[in-house]
Amino acid sequence: MNLRVPAPGLRTQVLLLALILLAVPWVGYRYVLEMERFLREGQEGALSATARGVATALHDRPALFAASGSVPLGATESGLYVRALSGPIVLDGFDADWPAPGDAADTPTYAGATVSLVPRLGKRDRFLYVLAKVSDEHVIYRANAKARPDSADRIELAVVDPHGNFHRYVIAPVAAGASQAVRVTGEGASWDDPVNEPRVEAFWRETRQGYVVELRMPLTMIGPRLGLLAASVDDSERRETTSMAGPTGTEHAGVLASVLIPESEIDLALQELGRTTTRIWVVDREHRVLAQSGTLKPAADAPPANQLETSVWSRAWTALEQATLRRIYAQVFRRPSNDFDEGTQDPSALIGAQVDEALSGSSTTRWRATADQRAVVLSAAHPIRAANAVAGAVVVEETTNSILSVRTRALETLFSTALVVLTLGTLTLFVFATRLSTRIRRLRDDAEEAVDAQGRVRGGIAASRARDEIGDLSRSLSTMVKRLGEYNDYLESMGGRLAHEIRTPIAVVRSSLDNLALQTVPDDAKRYMDRAREGLARLSRVVASMTEATRLEQTLQQAEPEKFDLTAVVSGCVSGYRMAYGHNTFELMVPSEPVLISGAPELIAQMLDKLVANAVDFARAGTSIVVQLELDRTRALLSLSNEGPALPENMQGRLFDSMVSIRPATAGADPHLGMGLYIVRMIAQFHGGLARAENRASGTGVVMTIELPVILAH
């Protein structure tokens, strides 16, 4: 089997080379991945540094942890503490906006005789929030606004403010709904003459079990101690307080739980570091969250980037990209979503092991997926030391969304750019290759055109002016063909020059012989003189035939074409040949109508002379030479056919060239320089026709055919 695959053209080759361009997006992709890795490392480092920074800010401040580390809200046996609230709280008596309670320790119950209290404390935005769920069979409100605050069911709140002053506040509204607390101690206030405290806002909502009070007060009002209780009045007539429940009493500063709102300091530290999309926790040794700042999700409605491009083109491109590529990218690249589950507020539940490690003194960073697998979260934990012991830990969390965004954006840009570059590059290469191959092909066509099938130079090659290699090649070929043509011309005209040079010596010999003839010479000498004359005559004929082509060229240059009937010329000539050549008969076949052509009749006659002389030379004696003129639409076909030896295969094309002869050299015969058929060709070409020689189909002779364009009768 010999399978031949066609060799790829220049265009295909260049396009194949263009595949190298495909490396561009690949390299770009590798680069983006590398960049992502660096970004992740950077993020890890940054997050770790943040954690360390926060931890350092909290180092050696045992008070923070001692205070909060004991019991945040006084009750030694309770686990009640102020927790940071992540969301805004609406004072409406419902706990829906409060974080879900973690376990029983989160919501301790304080029970009295007829009343029990489940308080929850939270802190947000410099406010202390309290949600007090009170179970009370009979909810009794103050009779009127003037009534003593202790004449009704109430929530009592006592603080030692930052200046050390004791204050006791009571929330005892006259009806459910929004209300304010009243101050009953200090600075002109008493149970009988309470002072409104607008800074403590509250909302009272009745429930089936009793009521819920949701209140808030600025943290600035709270000093080192805090007390909270619910008091119940069961008889609306007697209005005596019958039962109280709460983590502390409220009578005087001594019964209050020592409380420090450590958050306010830690928060200050955290807020300085505060970033959106970063969540910072401070936990104590018991894994309790002392402070929290930030959220993993970015602020809503953040303006999308890159909307500042104003150029029409870039906008059009963006629109196009959105319409086409983005859709594909959306399928291929996972864009980071901000719609993920942040997880609970308690880092221990999320990353307990890491917190444990931090609490045991080592700093770590971890990657994990969110519970819903929609985002990857990086967390860094760092221990907080106080007095050479670990007092707590800082946990900083961040999603990798920003990096993913950057990566996705980079990949999209990369692929869009690569697509454009590839398209343009391939297109450019294609155009370049097409142009190159067109130029080369044109050059090839020119080169093939320049030299005809017989190796004659037909015309020059127009030299290209391009300054590249192809231009060079074109110029070289042009010069080459020109030189070849000149050489050809030289060869073809050599006969003429030679003849001219020979003429003078011939004239010398002839005139000498003529002179000699005038002398009286012996008969012997006359014989030699005759031979000399004979030789001279032959030499003259050689010279004549050598100059014939040159003379013909001059004649052709000056010839003025006229319109004449080819039939008449051929008929006349053939009748002349019948007389001139006795050994052969001539068969003449011409069309009945005139065949009009444009040219010189005497040249046509000269051409016929040559053809007939050639045919007669090769025809076997006694055979007839067929001269036929046919009209073939636009061409006149003049053919001479003779019986005789066939043409050698390789000579058929060259027969009409200058100085080509296939005659055998015969001693004594007239010399043949092979100019006859060359003259035939010249005359045929002058008339816009062509000459060709073929063997007869039967192989018994040769047919010479001249095609001449005719003048079409209108």
Partner: protein, 231 residues
């Protein structure tokens, strides 16, 4: 009286051969190898007839220049170009400069002598009255065999000697086809066929110049030419 022929030819062998044969036939011969030498002598004394080669040494066209200068000195002096250059262009150039004949060096000496004799005869008789019996009349054509002059419709057609002899050959037997060999023989000329064709073309042109409707010379393709009887 002694006829003096000037031979201007740069090839010594040819020059001497021509000089020898001319002397043998009784002519006085002066030979020159170059144009300046010839011209210098001509200024002093004009020859009776000049035979000039076209290429003279380094001067490719020296003969043409000489012919023009010589014609300027004398309007009637017979001038014959005898050269190796046989292109139609050269022939036309030479004749246009006022030469009486243009011969290639193929010409044999007897033919040359015939021409020289004819040219002398013509110049001798240029002024003499025409004798009737030396005229050939064919319709509008009149050939004066003594003066070698041709008229058509009474107007002179300026033919060279060779052309005149060809014309005479054709017109002697109107309607008869003269082939090229016959024409050559009658014109004291040995040339190839295409030279005959050129001569006939020139003759036709000269008649056409006198009479644009001239068509008395027929080409009989393959055979020769004929003076048409109707003409």
């Amino acid at each position: 009286m002694g006829r003096k022929i000037a031979v201007v030819e740069d090839e010594p062998a040819i020059r001497e051969n021509y000089a020898d044969v001319l002397r043998k036939h009784g002519y006085e011969v002066a030979t020159f190898a170059s144009r300046p030498a010839a011209m210098q002598a001509f200024r002093t004394q004009l020859p009776s007839l000049a035979i000039i080669d076209v290429g003279l040494g380094d001067e490719m066209e020296g003969g043409f220049t000489l012919c023009r200068d010589l014609r300027a000195l004398s309007a009637t002096l017979p001038i014959i170009f005898l050269t190796a250059r046989d292109s139609d262009f050269d022939v036309v150039s030479g004749l246009r400069l006022g030469a009486d004949d243009y011969l290639t060096k193929d010409v044999s000496l007897p033919h040359l002598l015939a021409r020289i004799a004819a040219l002398f005869r013509r110049s001798d008789l240029a002024a003499a009255p025409t004798s009737q019996e030396e005229m050939v009349e064919r319709g509008s054509l009149r050939l004066d065999l003594k003066r070698f002059s041709v008229t058509w419709n009474g107007r002179l057609v300026d033919l060279t000697l060779t052309e005149f002899w060809m014309m005479h050959s054709l017109a002697r037997y109107p309607g008869h086809v003269k082939d090229r060999d016959q024409l050559m023989r009658d014109a004291n000329l040995v040339v190839d066929d295409s030279t005959i064709t050129s001569h006939m073309k020139r003759i036709r042109k000269k008649f056409l110049a006198v009479d644009p409707s001239f068509d008395a010379i027929d080409t009989v393709y393959g055979m020769g030419y004929r003076w048409s009887a109707s003409g």
